[in-house]
Subunit: 529 residues, 2 copies
């Protein structure tokens, strides 16, 4: 059943860049981006970046296209499909593969019609066709995908996904080319984490909506902090591994402290050092009469702490022995890692040792970093109090908060609604022109939508070599927060003020009606660039 | 620093009921509500309910008024103060007591000016003057409050609070009358919990905004559930003890299962029975191919389970012995309570025994009921699987979510903004007419604001006798969910459909601009009545 707001949003007409309003040609950008062709991509690594230029509307032949969601949800996914559907030439057919890439391999698809799409326009979620995390990696999977595409006689396949899914798209594009199959494979950059960016991709979709939803909650909580004046809120933010979400939310709300994983890594910080830095903040604020505050903790920060990183690596090795028990594990650790392990409260120790992923590894996402830090900060503050160190005489009461699942499937902001609809439209045009092995890109996103530029970046240009499960692989590199980039520098420049002053801003809920400055804002991180 | 939305909201002009737009007279309602005068209130229990009737604007004498926030935050508090300030006759003075009732006792106050209020109009939080939980109970506190009121020569004192704070207001009103001090004491019904209602109070302020914020998150999460199809979300909702918030959110979102504490109490359910009912849901859904879902759990539900209630009572007695340790505690329990205790995972056992409130009691609010239920459901499902009971062959993966602090200080919805501003205005008028021992009431709230009725209910009429820390006391009764009331009956009538169908509705974020059906909605619970 649709809410009043859902119904109202169905009526919203996404704004389209001027260049995409009629037909386009694609011109090659003068400079090739993939300078050294990575070995697995002999063909697609020779492609050059594309720029769309408008031309008069032409009558195109009907197309047969498939589309799939891959990986975690991000707001706007349904609009990619709607934009794609609406842009396909008359007589075209659009298939949705069900429940992620598994739908391609297992040949599970559904033909999408205008009627089916009606209730999904400008709506959150991926539930029109579902999503999944299956990776198309093995030869038999590639063959199955090929058969799927051939059986449906597809001219194109649009893969809506993050770094791993677009890596898959690249392998698939190369595979189809080598087998002489004329099916375009086009990627669309999706992920709330914001780590699929750079080289022509300004931002992935879903990031804006997720950060706005989290910032609403963080801003409300900050207002609670200054009203009740009794709690420290330790707020963990979803998103692995990069700290883009935390940085964006910090720029929006101005919390007292924000951990940035990339900075922690650059400074080779350990868990005790981070605990110390939080305790220092608490003591400084207590001296100013403030026993409350707001601290942002990116989910991925735990992986950037050098001692925890080492501990996890050792545990992963020890966990290979299926008979290992808690005691054996602890005995097997190096002296440094044992010390680190013993620092950790028992409940978190269990999260580290009991919960393993399907490969037997420690499940980093299950570690409740916000609670770990709360416990360690509390005990360190107790020590300082007893030693009379720094004259700390405050009271410390903390509350853990997790901003997570509620941010992935919200009603997309106007930015994400427009961005996604236009990305879908662009994907249709790339397929129409027979382009393959590309990711669709829109740029100039801080400008009015009509002025956005459209183009495509060869997926091969995004690749780098990386160790995955002990094997060297070509994959799309996750874009971490650039410590020399403008968003971080702006944050670094402002944050000293935010420590003691309560300079919180309350962004409030996403607005869909009213003045443009309320409805059409773009991420702060983009505005900084 | 104000966000764009905060700035836009400052400009919002709250709508005022027609009857409050000029001056009013107060007429007595024909029937006295407090039939049996409770002993502590010989004077105010003789008062009759009042009804405001409009009259031509009259020039009134300047007033000196104090205002205080008491207890937990609720959206709209600042608007009560703004409405009060704007309605006071020219030349009046308004003092804000700082950080709750402690500010009255300690004579800490600040004179509020138009300039100070400017940035707080239609904003969330209580930070203009802060709040606190001090209760004015002892003789010396009453005397201090009297001195405070006399020193500032106050004509009136407005107490913005929940059931306990308004109980305090009643005692203070009676005390002032008996000492011959002409200072009106007027209560304003505040609490997100929605348990200050009945006898002329339709709803407390803050409930609407909190439920809308929680429902946004729950709706988003439900959309995530049907998109990823892999998690059961166990969502705990803030609010003690009544389940009004859970009921309202259920009516808005249609989750698969919603626990209602009052129903659990009526049916004398135990923890294992509730676990069984959740497992039954999971099994039914698994049979329909659905290994995901959304379950709402009111924070207060734990107190309604008869076995847990007994366990907590026993623990509270045992905890009186300050030397009790974990083992002693367990040994001291009755057989039934020991069995119940042993059912509970160790981490929650510790929450039950380690965290005590200032009176040495178990801190019920610290019990993570959502995690307790997740753990027990998981182990019960495992047993069913092994026994082959009911053919359960699903996979169960659950995520805990807590909708809490972010709901108390959001930007107030139009409903709460209008309601609070008008309540403040009404409070000013009650003081102008020398009324005391009343709580300000607006009714007909499902009608357009201009048609709302205004009046006041004697605080004494809300009282009942209750055991508090072993002593019989007259206090305002918390209004629980009425199992024969229309909101619950409507829910009970619909919920069977919601179990297996994914009938989720996504209300989305609160809107402040656009069509009235989006911006001006009132709680479903009110519409049902």
């Amino acid at each position: 059943m649709l809410s009043e707001l859902q119904k109202a949003r169905i009526q919203y007409q996404p704004v389209i860049p001027a260049v995409l309003q009629t037909s386009v040609d694609f011109e090659q950008e003068p400079v090739a981006q993939a300078v050294v062709p990575p070995p697995p991509f002999p063909t697609i690594s020779t492609f050059k970046a594309l720029r769309a230029v408008a031309k008069a509307t032409t009558v195109a032949r009907p197309l047969r296209v498939g589309v799939v969601f891959s990986g975690g949800q991000a707001a706007g996914g349904h609009n990619v499909i709607c934009g794609l559907f609406d842009a396909l030439p008359i007589g075209s057919v659009l298939y949705g593969f069900l429940n992620g890439p598994a739908g391609i391999v297992k040949q599970k698809s559904v033909e999408l019609t205008k009627e089916m799409l009606h209730d999904f326009r400008n709506q959150g979620g991926f539930d029109l066709i579902g999503s999944g995390r299956t990776k198309i990696e093995t030869t038999s999977q590639f063959e199955a995908a090929l058969k799927s595409v051939q059986d449906l006689k597809l001219d194109g396949l649009v893969i809506i996904g993050g770094d791993d899914s677009n890596t898959n798209a690249a392998y698939l594009a190369e595979f189809f080319l080598q087998r002489g199959v004329k099916c375009s494979v086009i990627g669309v950059p999706k992920t709330i984490d914001g780590d699929l960016q750079g080289k022509g991709i300004e931002i992935s979709f879903g990031f804006d909506t997720a950060c706005k939803i989290y910032s609403e909650a963080i801003g409300n909580t900050a207002r609670d902090a200054i009203s009740a004046k009794k709690y420290y809120y330790f707020i963990k933010l979803m998103g692995r591994s990069a700290s883009h979400i935390a940085l964006e939310c910090a720029l929006k709300v101005h919390p007292n402290l924000t951990l940035i994983g990339e900075e922690i890594l650059a400074e080779q910080q350990t868990l005790p050092q981070v605990v110390k830095s939080i305790c220092d903040l608490v003591c400084e604020r207590a001296a100013a009469g403030k026993d409350y505050g707001v601290i942002l903790i990116p989910e991925g920060v735990i992986e950037f702490l050098i001692d925890i990183k080492e501990l996890i690596a050792e545990l992963n090795t020890l966990l290979l022995d299926k008979n290992s028990d808690f005691q054996k594990l602890e005995m097997g650790l190096s002296i440094a890692s044992k010390a680190c392990f013993q620092l950790i409260p028992e409940s978190i120790q269990r999260q580290l040792t009991m919960d393993r992923d399907p490969h037997g590894n420690v499940q980093v996402s299950k570690i409740e970093t916000e609670r770990l830090l709360m416990a360690l900060v509390e005990s360190e503050l107790e020590k300082r109090k007893q030693k009379g160190e720094g004259g700390y005489a405050g009271t410390f009461s903390a509350q853990p908060i997790f901003c997570g699942y509620e941010g992935r499937c919200g009603l997309p902001s106007n930015f994400d609604a427009n961005y996604c609809y236009s990305l879908g439209r662009l994907a249709a045009m790339l397929i129409e022109h027979g382009k393959t092995g590309y990711i669709a890109t829109l740029s100039g996103l801080t400008q009015p939508v009509t002025q956005w530029r459209a183009g495509a970046v060869p997926l091969a240009a995004l690749m780098h070599q990386e160790m995955r499960a002990g094997v060297e692989k070509y994959v799309i590199k996750k874009a971490l927060v650039d410590l020399k980039g403008k968003p971080f520098l702006h944050f670094a420049n402002e944050r000293a003020k935010w420590r003691l002053e309560d300079a919180y801003t309350q962004p409030g809920p996403i607005q869909f009606f009213g003045p443009a400055e309320l409805t059409d804002s773009v991420p702060c991180s983009l505005r900084c660039e």
